[in-house]
């Protein structure tokens, strides 16, 4: 007698043995008891959850000749025939191999004949999603009103590929993934039956590796038994399942978070020669990082159900110390790299590359902390702190293009609301008001640079030989500008127009720092211009060498 794998030899033969699909089984049992069996059923759900099994039990129950309850007897001729797959009245068809319209036509030919020896003629079509469109359509009429002695049962893992016209003609049952606890219980029962000694932890490990599929778990269990015999140590299980990866995940995560690129590479090397499947590991790693992110944002342990107790504790502990933004960013990189990982010719190399990238990222500053710093800066400024601040220290100078990895600068908002103490703000407000008041004058002075403000005077600098200098120096214009400025500042302010030397533009009252500032601003503005960004993005490796202000060129 040839060996039959556990998943087949332990296939449930009665409704009572089916694991974890109570919602389906109860309905079907009641239907049989009340003689309300539908003419078409559709079973869908993930692999290894019992679709084909339930279809077969249902067929047995419907055709059983000695049934007194809704359970099939599993003894009579009909039941035995169905179990061995030789019944004439129950045909199990592989929908994926017989998927054409011709096969369906043939099936329709045979449907008309009454069953040979049982109550019903039952057609079980497995993998029904693979039928062609024509085949599905050819089935529609028959499916809606089959002869009274015919019952259809469809099983599929991909319900979305079954046309809605088919769905609406069937009673549809959705099979759920089986919980780890139920799988563990099932495996324990098998172990007892086969007289195999295995620790509860071992069973849990196998159940977990099954990922909600009983067949997967049973296959693995089978594999472990083949490997280790009747006395199974936890080490055997780890050897077969290759779950040594847990340790690697934790080490690697730590190394990445610490930014130790070298350590990452060493871990990958060990892992590679230990036979870890890099692509599978990548998925595990992504899942753990997702778990970490979950732990960062939620205290609910149910969301971390897929992890064991130890792992959960570790995630919680880590979540305390790592800023959520950092986790988010790493996870984002992993998810974005998933596609590349799949396509890569050499998965190890691809993974190493990604890890180094992740480990060498600039450390992230949490937004909270950044806001705190800004606020501190703000209070310092308001309390009349240093006037000669350097451009880079000022919060309103986004001196660089925000890189893709950097958090969005929440910088502009708070500064915008600041009252008109900063000369910068005053300058902005002044320009705005002037634009409303007299657009023509504004366009003439808009090229000007704020040289100095304060002490009731605003000095606006223009390049030597600026075209509108004379216009701006007219008393009427000066008068208007001064009025607007006074309104803005809330006190008496005079506006003065000055000519600047091309080279040292910053020879204003307060020296270089203040004079350089607007120039810096113009440059960063130019760099931030959408057009420039677009150009930089389109031409890979393009760079901005210099930003020149127009007047300078027109002057020379």
């Amino acid at each position: 007698m040839e060996y039959v794998v556990l998943a087949r030899s332990c296939r449930p033969q009665k409704f009572g043995e089916v694991v974890g699909q109570d919602h389906v089984v109860t309905t079907l049992r009641n239907a049989i008891r009340m003689n309300r069996a539908a003419h078409a059923y559709l079973f869908s759900g993930p692999r290894g959850t019992g679709k084909t099994t339930v279809a077969r039990i249902m067929a047995k129950a419907l055709n059983c000749s000695e049934r007194d309850t809704e359970e099939p007897c599993d003894q009579c001729g009909s039941c035995r025939e169905i179990r061995d797959g030789v019944s004439i009245d129950v045909r199990e068809i592989d929908g994926a191999s017989n998927r054409g319209i011709d096969e369906i036509r043939e099936l329709k030919e045979n449907i008309r004949f009454a069953p040979v020896s049982s109550r019903y003629k039952i057609y079980i079509i497995d993998e029904v999603h693979m039928l062609t469109k024509e085949a599905f359509n050819a089935l529609l009429k028959t499916l809606e009103e089959p002869p009274p002695h015919v019952i259809f049962m469809f099983a599929t893992t991909e319900i979305h590929r079954v046309p809605p016209t088919i769905l609406s003609r069937c009673q549809h049952f959705d099979f759920k993934r089986i919980s780890i606890r139920q799988i563990t219980e099932n495996l324990a029962a098998i172990a007892e039956k086969l007289n195999i000694s295995i620790s509860p932890r071992g069973l849990a490990l196998i159940a977990q590796a099954g990922a909600g599929s009983l067949r997967d778990a049973q296959s693995l269990f089978d594999q472990v038994i083949s490997y280790a015999g009747e006395t199974i140590e936890d080490g055997d299980i780890e050897a077969v399942l290759g779950i040594t990866d847990r340790g690697y995940v934790s080490d690697l995560l730590q190394a990445v978070l610490d930014g130790r690129a070298g350590a990452c590479l060493e871990i990958v090397n060990d892992m590679y020669y230990a036979g870890e499947d890099i692509r599978r590991f990548y998925q595990t790693f992504t899942r753990v990082l997702m778990g970490l992110l979950t732990a960062c944002v939620s205290k609910n342990d149910e969301l971390l159900e897929e992890f064991t107790e130890d792992e959960r504790r570790e995630l919680r502990r880590r979540a305390e110390t790592v800023p959520v933004e950092a986790v988010e960013r790493l996870l984002g990189m992993l998810l974005a790299g998933d596609e590349d990982m799949r396509k890569a010719s050499d998965s190890r190399l691809q993974f190493e590359y990604l890890l180094v990238k992740m480990a060498t990222l600039e450390p992230i500053i949490p937004v909270d902390e950044m806001i705190n710093r800004l606020e501190a800066l703000e209070t310092r400024l308001r309390s009349g702190g240093s006037r000669g601040r350097t451009p880079s220290a000022g919060p309103a100078t986004p001196g660089k293009i925000p890189g893709p990895e950097e958090p969005p600068p929440p910088v502009e908002e708070p500064v915008e609301q600041e009252d008109v103490t900063g000369e910068d703000q005053l300058w902005k407000l002044f320009r705005k008001r002037l634009k409303q008041e007299n657009p023509i004058l504004f366009s003439k002075m808009s090229e000007g640079i704020l040289l100095a403000a304060g002490e009731g005077i605003i000095k606006i600098g223009f390049p030597r030989g600026f075209v509108f200098l004379d216009n701006l120096r007219e008393p009427a214009a000066l008068e208007l500008m001064s009025r607007v400025a006074s309104e803005c500042a809330g006190s008496e302010v005079r506006v003065r127009i000055e000519e600047m030397n091309g080279r040292n533009k910053g020879n204003g009252v307060n020296g270089n720092a203040d004079g350089k500032r607007p120039l810096e601003e113009i440059k960063s503005e130019a760099l931030r211009h959408p057009m420039v960004q677009k150009v930089l993005d389109t031409f890979e490796g393009a760079e901005v060498r210099d930003v020149r202000i127009k007047e300078e060129r027109s002057r020379s």
Binding site: E127, I225, Y272
Partner: protein
């Protein structure tokens, strides 16, 4: 039955072989196996050995050589060993149907019919689905062995029906032993090749080491010496592109080499451990480059080569792609855009 003999030709993979032997001894041979591991690591060799063991007549103890069945399998003449391999790019439904038909009959002369499906991930959707029922409940006397180097591309429904054996890369010692015993390659060469194999015999047995080394030295010479020498020929990167050849497959292979080399530089740069390096014959170049590079530049270069590889794979003009790649690879600084934005 003595099952040790048929497996004697496999290097490494002791755990996997033990597993299969145990299954034989305990009479727990499953109907379907999935051998999962990178190309050239020994999956097919092991599958064939398993097929031999399943059908072995057990006479070798008396005669001291392979039995008739094992010999037939060895020479590819056994009627009960079937192979399915991609027809073009895919394994198609017709092949699977034909297979299912053949599997209905009892084995012709052996105990078990062994069906070896190579590159099982190449089954297209129809073929994979058509295999499901056969895979779960084949007629008695059949064993299916699916081989794949990309198990993640295989439908879960297929993997769920198989017992899965993961084939790890071989330790360098096993590769070295293979090269010395089977290929008669000298001590030093073997050890160098063993490192270059990254645990995969298939990677080095078909390679002409001398030719590939010359290629590498040329390319790397241009790439890495360039950095500081201002006086060399500015057209060098374009001239050297010709060394990649015209054949797409060959270009892709060479791009892989260059990429691996940059990986080596990265590894050396980050860890300083020379034993982690794949191409030890290029160690001089690697050391020099590692000293002068930054992680940012190296990852960027790897990215760049990977992009070029894909472009060539997708039928882009390979010469253009390679020229632009070489040009980019030689740029010294890490990210000029950011610099420009920060500075100036």
């Amino acid at each position: 039955m003595n099952s040790a003999m048929p497996f004697s030709g496999v290097y490494g993979h002791e755990r996997q072989i033990n597993f299969l032997k145990n299954a034989l001894l305990r009479d727990r041979v499953a109907q379907a196996y999935l051998f999962d591991g990178m190309a050239g690591v020994g999956k097919k060799t092991t599958a064939l050995a398993f097929a031999r063991a399943l059908n072995c007549l057990g006479t070798e103890e008396e005669t001291g050589e392979f039995c008739a069945s094992c010999r037939k399998i060895e020479t590819g003449n056994h009627p009960d060993i079937l192979f399915v391999a991609p027809d073009g790019k895919f394994i198609k439904i017709g092949q699977i149907r034909e297979l299912a038909r053949q599997m209905c009959f009892r084995p012709l002369e052996g105990r078990r019919r062994v069906v070896i499906i190579e590159e099982a991930h190449a089954m297209n959707d129809e073929a994979a689905n058509a295999l499901l029922k056969t895979l779960e409940e084949p007629a008695p006397g059949n064993v299916l062995i699916l081989l794949t180097s990309r198990s993640e591309a295989l439908p879960r429904t297929i993997a769920s029906r198989c017992q899965r054996l993961r084939f790890a890369p071989l330790p360098a010692s096993a590769v070295e032993a293979f090269l010395k015993e089977r290929r008669g390659i000298g001590e030093e060469e073997s050890s160098m090749l063993a490192a270059a194999s990254a645990g995969c015999i298939g990677r080095v047995i078909d390679r002409d080491p001398e030719a590939s080394r010359r290629f590498e030295e040329d390319i790397l010479g241009v790439l890495e010496i360039s950095g500081d020498a201002g006086d060399e020929n500015p057209l060098a990167p374009f001239l050297v592109v010709a060394r990649f050849g015209d054949d797409r497959a060959a270009i892709v292979e060479k791009l892989e080499l260059v990429k691996e080399w940059y990986r080596d530089v990265l590894v050396l740069h980050e860890t300083g451990r020379e034993e982690l390096i794949i191409h030890r014959d290029l160690l001089n170049f690697t050391r020099r480059a590692a000293d002068r590079s930054t992680a940012g530049r190296l990852t960027r270069n790897i990215e760049c080569i990977e992009a070029a590889r894909r472009a060539v794979d997708r039928n882009a003009n390979s010469r253009l792609v390679l020229e632009s790649m070489m040009f980019k690879l030689r740029q010294p600084s890490t990210d000029r855009r950011q610099q420009a934005a920060r500075g100036s």
